[in-house]
């Protein structure tokens, strides 16, 4: 692949992760356990949709085929999506929603924290804006992991279960493939493995405070970010996300 193609693929991944996580959070509107959380979830969803717009617009420019953020978001099928398996996971109960948000945002915090120094100026600018947002997401979701972990018996059981269910999808985030390696070599993206210790430290500190057990690292699936083996969920997410653009192609909205 040419550098431009690799960069396109890389930025697309950043955009798709934000888009699909944002879309998942959109599903929760009207279902929060309390009013303050209704606002927080809408706010976080809005942040991720905003990040998706910046990354996807940039990806479209890199590609140079005239595709804008919407054409990338709304007219690609499953095979062309490049989002991690983590963000595709269903909302589940509130423990799952918060555990997913925490594990993913804590990853993004490290990733964006590195990208602010990327040799790619545009990525650095987007990351700088997004970093402020994800720091808040980490704090907000981390507080919920602690509250639920150290709350009642029921909430502890649910949060432990959620962390265990989702732990499976943390491996992919830190497993570099040829795209990650090429970007790292260019100084555009980080060495993913090098981000892990700080993420692990953060996550383990929160789990400890939450009186939760850190799950063991066993086999972990990959295939989301490189699009080789998505989850079955993704097609359903896209069918809802893309409904209008698919039913009425080529219109302005």
């Amino acid at each position: 692949m040419e550098t431009r193609e690799v960069l396109f693929e890389y930025v697309l991944r950043l955009g798709d992760n934000a888009l699909i996580l944002g879309q998942r959070l959109c599903e929760l509107l009207g279902w929060a356990p309390e009013l303050e959380e209704e606002m927080a979830l809408a706010n976080i969803a809005l942040d991720y949709i905003g990040q998706a717009r910046m990354f996807l617009s940039y990806a479209g420019e890199i590609e140079g085929k005239g595709r804008d953020e919407d054409q990338l978001a709304y007219t690609r099928d499953v095979l062309d999506f490049r989002c991690a398996l983590m963000v595709q996971q269903p909302n589940g109960d509130f423990a799952h929603t918060m555990a997913r948000l925490f594990l993913m945002s804590a990853f993004n915090e490290q990733l964006y924290g590195w990208l602010v120094r990327s040799k790619d100026q545009r990525l650095a600018e987007i990351a700088e804006k997004a970093l402020k947002e994800v720091r808040y997401h980490v704090r907000h979701s981390g507080e919920w992991v602690i509250r639920l972990g150290d709350g009642t018996e029921e909430s502890h059981r649910r949060m432990q279960r959620a962390i265990e269910d989702l732990w499976l999808y943390t491996g992919e985030l830190f497993t570099p493939d040829e795209v990650d390696q090429a970007m790292a070599a260019e100084g555009i993206g980080p060495d993913l493995a090098a981000l892990k210790p700080a993420w692990q430290q953060k996550v383990e500190a929160v789990l400890r405070e939450a009186t939760l057990e850190r799950p063991a690292d066993g086999w972990m699936p990959t295939g989301g970010k490189d699009g080789r083996m998505h989850s079955e969920h993704l097609g359903h997410i896209l069918s809802e996300l893309q409904f209008l653009q698919r039913a009425y192609p080529g219109l302005r909205w």
């Binding site: 509107l29 009013l35 606002m39 809005l46 949709i49 717009r53 709350g151 219109l251």
Partner: protein, 335 residues
């Protein structure tokens, strides 16, 4: 968004006559303040009827914001562009904020948010009937912004001068956001109006379904609204329901024309003598039926709110338990 509940008084409830000389004196002083446009604040003396009316009105308004998130939330996962999705998310977030803000204003009158919310979930409290209609196509989101938020603004702008300070101040902030929502809604409608035949069909169909329910948002006609006189005397209200409805029709008919839309009312006609549009009779039977619980989505809306509340119970319990544990830990550390 907005409440129409101004006049939806439980049967048999009437303003009470002053009981003693002392009360009569206080009430006269209270009315003088109102007449002199001095704001009433939470710690001021106020007649029980005034307090009750405000609690009812502000809580209905808060409930309307919270239930009003649902018909729009129905489209947030399917918004046709990322820009539209972001706008809709921000709007819904604003509405949750309005709800919180209004519940707080209501709490200054001596009720708790929990009590009010429980009343809503128990089906004892009213909210605007408009949210008991379904959002079937994307055009409904535009119509809600343009007309529902438009009607809300028409109602709420005078409420910025409401005699009760916390409510009036809440309205100032809320109105700013609503007018933003309305412009975005109109802009959405404009995109559809300038679009394909399918998009124009969606838009006209949405207008046909929402037009009368939107006019109902101003509350029952003045002749059936005995409560209006007292609310006007207390300067909670500044215009009657019919006055506001007329202002609204006059404002939106030219806007509809610019969109190339036909208002679904054969009696709608400019009356040069009155300087207003004449319009047909609002289907009031439908209004009362929906208010009493038999609208297309009353059950569905309440069911979602109840389910979300029930399914969130363990979360709220955990948050309380955690806060309690922390408090005890801090106490024992301090000891």
């Amino acid at each position: 968004m907005y409440t129409q509940g101004l006049d939806l008084v439980p049967k048999g409830e009437k303003p009470e006559a002053p009981k003693s000389e002392e009360e009569a004196r206080l009430e006269a002083a209270f009315q003088r303040k109102i007449d002199e446009e001095i704001r009433i604040e939470p710690t001021d003396w106020m007649p029980e009827g005034y307090r009750r009316t405000l609690i009812r009105q502000i809580s209905q308004h808060a409930h309307s914001e919270i239930v009003g998130m649902l018909p729009e939330g129905n489209w947030v996962t399917r918004a046709p562009t990322l820009r539209r999705k972001a706008i809709l998310l921000a709007k819904i977030q604003d509405e949750a904020g309005h709800g919180l803000y209004l519940y707080s204003a209501c709490e200054t009158l001596g009720v708790t948010r929990e009590e009010l919310y429980e009343q809503l979930l128990a089906g004892k409290a009213k909210y605007s009937s408009i949210f008991n209609y379904p959002t079937l196509t994307w055009a409904d989101i535009g119509i809600i912004g343009w007309l529902v938020d438009g009607a809300a603004i028409m109602n709420q702008v005078p409420l910025q001068r409401c005699s009760y300070g916390p409510y009036a101040r809440a309205m100032i902030r809320i109105c700013k956001e609503e007018s933003f929502h309305q412009r975005q809604g109109y802009e959405l409608c404009l995109a559809l109006a300038e679009g394909s035949p399918e998009q124009r069909r969606m838009l006209q169909d949405a207008l046909n379904r929402w037009w009368w329910p939107v006019l109902m948002m101003f509350g029952p006609p003045d002749k059936d609204s005995w409560h209006t006189a007292q609310s006007m005397k207390w300067k909670i209200k500044r215009f009657t329901n019919d006055e506001l409805r007329q202002k609204f029709v006059d404002a939106v008919v030219p806007q509809a024309e610019r969109l190339g839309l036909k208002i679904p009312d054969p009696h709608l006609k400019w009356n040069p003598e009155r300087g207003h549009y004449d319009f047909g009779e609002v289907p009031w039977d439908e209004f009362w039926r929906v208010i009493k619980g038999d609208g297309p989505c009353n059950r569905q809306r309440m069911e979602q709110r109840r389910r979300a509340w029930e399914e969130g119970r363990w979360v709220r319990e955990a948050a309380l338990a955690y806060a309690e544990k922390r408090r005890r830990r801090q106490q024992s550390e301090a000891a």
